[in-house]
Symmetry: C2
């Protein structure tokens, strides 16, 4: 089968510096972070400002945009790509399971899925809440979030 | 920035044969398809059988598993990776927007996100509902779905 090359479009800037610090499913902890997009991709951000979460007020466009969520894919560069089974949530007392039935970073193609709240955009820097990737993690893609498609 | 190599772990088998046939956001149309996983990755599927959608009855493990949803990433091999702006949903009367504010397949790293219902698993073949990728699309990753993380 053909192979494909991923070229990161940005990087995560976070107070989380070490994989051991990263909370499991840190989306639920409200960790804030920045996504610094390579300026070459600035045109691709156009329209994303409509997704910024409102600070306690409604926005034009209705309820579907009010949650302010976007989808971010990262490349988990510390992942073990050879690992096909893991202890769920790293708990060694739980029996190993196939990585495709988990959210472990260890998997053949370590692309992570983060549904985060978009707090602000300033130029090429997105501020988000609910991001558990550590500082320096390469960002692969950004998408609009859809409760109908993704929920 | 470093580059990374994606090695597909499987392929989509679908009645949708042509990109022009693929419904926009076909997750909403209930399109069924098969995901044929490379047998080398069979151990990574272990545990996924617990995610199979029940046929009208409850399952052990409670409500969180009852929806039978999983997350599938594909590589959109027909995408235009140079394209930074698109007409949303391909509608040329709508003004162009940055691809990162859309779900267009055209984007620098064309990894797609599909939240699908897992209908059955037979060996290395997963049958799913809500998959709009066309026949022959490379599959990059499979993950458990979490309403808390992804909804």
């Amino acid at each position: 089968m053909a192979e494909y090359i991923v070229r990161p479009i940005g990087v995560v800037r976070s107070a989380l510096k070490d994989p051991a610090d990263a909370p499991k499913q840190g989306a639920l902890t409200g960790q804030e972070a920045e996504i610094v997009v390579d300026p070459a991709y600035l045109p691709a951000l156009d329209g994303l400002e409509r997704r910024v979460a409102p600070a306690g007020k409604t926005v034009p466009g209705g309820a579907r945009r009010k949650d302010g969520k976007i989808v971010v894919f990262c490349w988990m560069h510390f992942a073990d790509r050879e690992r096909l089974k893991v202890h769920p949530q790293g708990q060694e007392d739980l029996p190993e399971r196939g990585v495709f039935s988990t959210r472990s970073p260890h998997r053949p193609n370590p692309v992570s899925l983060h549904t985060v709240t978009l707090l602000s955009i300033a130029g090429n820097v997105l501020r988000v809440r609910g991001m558990d990737a550590i500082d320096g993690t390469p960002v692969v893609d950004i998408k609009s979030h859809s409760p109908e498609l993704d929920g």
